[in-house]
Amino acid sequence: MKRWLVIIALIALVVPAFGAGKSEATSVGFHKTGYPIVDNPVTLRIFAQKAPLHRKAFNELPVVMKYEKLTNVHIDWIEVPASAIQEKKNLMLASNDLPDAFAVNLPDFDIVTYGAAKVFIPIQDLIKNYMPNYQKVIAQKPDIIKFTTAPDGNIYTFARLNEGSWMRQMSIHTIYKPWMDKLGKSMPKTTDEFYDLMVAFKNNDLNGDGKADEIPIAMAWGDQANGLPRTTPWFVYYAFGLPAMDTGSAWLPITDLFVEKGKVVFAPADERFKQATAYLNKLWKAGLIEPEAFTLTWNQLEAKAKQLPVTYGVYSVWNIFDEFTPGADPRAKEYVPLEFFTAPGVAKPEVYRQPYPGWNRGHMAMTKVNKYPEITARWVDAMYDPYGSMEWIEGMIGSRLVKDANGVVTMKDPPAGMTTQEYRFAETQPDMPLAATMELYRTLFPAPVYEMKGTQIDQYYAPLWPKEFWSNPLMSPADMKELNAIDTDVRNLVIKTQAKWITQGGIDAEWNDYLKQLDTLGMSKMLKIRQAAYDRANK
């Protein structure tokens, strides 16, 4: 008797294993087209990024709830704040504790490595068979295929397109015009004029409060994720002819690389970087940069800048209209874009140019544990529908978004007490794969609040973009592995040394040693790999 029980128990354990390999879509009433996607509700476990402004759990956001009702797919979100994304994602991938999909901007290294290791599943067939909306987007922008295809020929990730005109530049450098007017000065044309202007900002009690509390240049390196890319005075680099930025945040592709006459150049090893840093040291020594630049975080700097009376002369931010609401705060118009100037001997300032602005290559990948890849694909496809993209990126139609008779959607102003972004994040989780294309913004989805930044870019930045730029092509897993190791060490060295040179000087004496150190850490190898990739992509 006992023996029979054991045999039956063993069979009962083994049999389900035979069914596990096949997709289970059929058993839940999957529909190839139309909504709902499934008859019986299905749950997907998705890893996503939680923004600082998200106050509610994702499943309480109106847009998320609407799509759950529409598609009958329930999402079990793993919500992770930006500062912990790298760590948590790496841990999950390393310990094989995989969600059904990662819906965060995956770095190239992850896409290529985990794609090759078959942790991420190829999706090109899913796109062909189940995603009509995404196919329409691809038809409009065929570069997406090249952009997302890994060296082994598979596509592992969905792209996210946010082609708003304001996405083309990371930071807008603004200067406080009322102070310039008080001094009777106009925009500086050279580095010397800029220096003199900053000294004048500092010494003349321009905010009229009787205290010497004016800080000519705002800067916050206390946090590298937000403070460094946004607030560093990159225009100093541009003035010396160096079109480069931040030393590699996870948000953008490596931005300290640019291309000159077909050669890939690493900005922090260039002679012009040396000159720019020496100039920054000059500014620092004269007390013209925020003295707490190296301990303040972006949030702290932002709070300080919002206070009255005004203390910052030059303020670099993502979007000045996010900081000061136009119409409500006069400073939105008073902080005007700084016109770029040049150093002696430089013909024109070179402004950093993003490859494929607004395009994220690896915005969502499905893992091998996903039992419902077709269902997931169809769920994602809803976000590529034009109105789906609008809703996911800005809020619900009928709530924050208003659709008129012609199908044009506009964004409502925030209610009293909320900023634009707070209102947006109370409605939706915008960090998902979607396609808010330029065409959409120009026709059915005008965004005047954001377009103001776009106009600033058109006027002051776009004319100064170089023709060549580092396009950040995807490379093989072996290459990416080497680059990954080198990049971490190189980046730490550059940040550390640059900070020292800005505050203490000494760049002339230490420059050659620094170059030697970079080489020891693998810089020349890194350049060789990237040059080869650039040449391949541009054949």
Partner: protein, 315 residues
């Protein structure tokens, strides 16, 4: 002669004696069992994962499926230009803590013990160990606020005295002093508790005898108090030695700014950046393993030395 020979019957008796004793005190062993299981499961069990340091680990392949690379990761670490600075940063912080932060609780306990007024003594003690309960994140946040050149009380105080304002957290030379001094502030009161406990166990007759002999207060401390807490101090020192290489990751990491990285990048923060953030798990494990092995060797050496010199040791 015969005393050197252990008769067979005696050894059998000895062995039987142990089990007999054990079975009679089985409740005590039962008490011990959960902790034992905890250590085996969570501390000894996972040790098999340390082999990641010898492999080229990729999560998808699992630990056993990842290729074996032997000592490549260790080699890469030792040959890296950062090796010496990481090692020296870690060691110097530990040694500074040992020299400055370790004796403070002892001195503090000795002084506190001399206070006659019990109410005042208890007040001082409570106030002194309050900072221990502040979490490290909050504590470092407080430090940033206190040392801020524009609004921090330290700098405001300094400027009133006519001294220049210094941004302590963004200053390389100040990193180590700030690290050690803040540790003294946070931990002295708490660490002194164990020494106070040892001091309270001293027989009061010793003091009376010393008074009769005409000893001064200082001589009493020197000849009664210090010998009494010396065993405790030795044990604490040996325990401390075992953690020399694991200088607080949290504190160093939170205190890091672009300007003090030369001193604040220690082995554990490097392992975090490279191993976890940079997803180089094998390399990170190798560095961490190296760290632990050095710790173990130091612990064994210091324990041996303590045993030889003072007869007090961990084992």
């Amino acid at each position: 002669m015969s005393s050197n020979v252990v008769s067979p019957s005696a050894s059998r008796q000895h062995r039987r004696g142990f089990f007999e004793r054990a079975s009679r005190a089985w409740q005590l062993y039962l008490f011990l069992l959960p902790t034992l299981i905890y250590f085996v499961l969570f501390h000894y069990g996972p040790l098999y994962g340390a082999q990641i340091a010898f492999r080229d680990y990729l999560g998808a392949l699992g630990i056993w499926g990842s290729p074996w690379v032997g000592l490549t990761n260790f080699q890469r670490f030792f040959e890296s230009s950062l090796f010496v600075s990481l090692l020296w940063n870690t060691l110097s912080l530990s040694l500074l803590m040992l020299v400055f932060s370790f004796p403070m609780p002892v001195i503090f306990a000795l002084m506190l013990n001399q206070i006659g007024n019990q109410g005042y003594k208890r007040l001082v003690q409570t106030v002194s160990y309050a900072p221990h309960f502040i979490s490290m994140v909050v504590f470092v946040g407080i430090m940033f606020l206190f040392t801020s050149p524009s609004a921090g009380i330290i700098n405001i105080f300094m400027s009133k005295l006519g001294l220049p304002r210094i941004s302590y957290m963004a200053n390389l030379a100040w990193f180590r002093p700030v690290y050690v001094l803040s540790d003294i502030w946070q931990e002295t009161g708490w660490a002194a508790i164990i020494y106070l406990a040892a001091l309270s166990g001293i027989n009061p007759e010793l003091y009376e005898a010393a008074t009769i002999d005409g000893a001064t207060k200082f001589q009493k401390i020197l000849h009664i108090d210090i010998p009494a807490i010396l065993p405790t101090v030795t044990i604490m020192l040996v325990l401390r030695a075992g953690t020399i290489m694991s200088v607080g990751f949290e504190k160093a990491f939170l205190m890091q700014t672009a300007l003090n990285l030369d001193y604040s990048e220690i082995i554990s923060t490097y392992v975090y950046k490279v191993g976890l953030l940079g997803a180089q798990f094998s390399f990170g494990s190798a560095v961490g393993l190296f760290n632990s092995v050095v710790n173990l060797i130091l612990l064994l050496v210091v324990n041996r030395v303590a045993r030889t010199i003072g007869e007090t040791s961990l084992w």
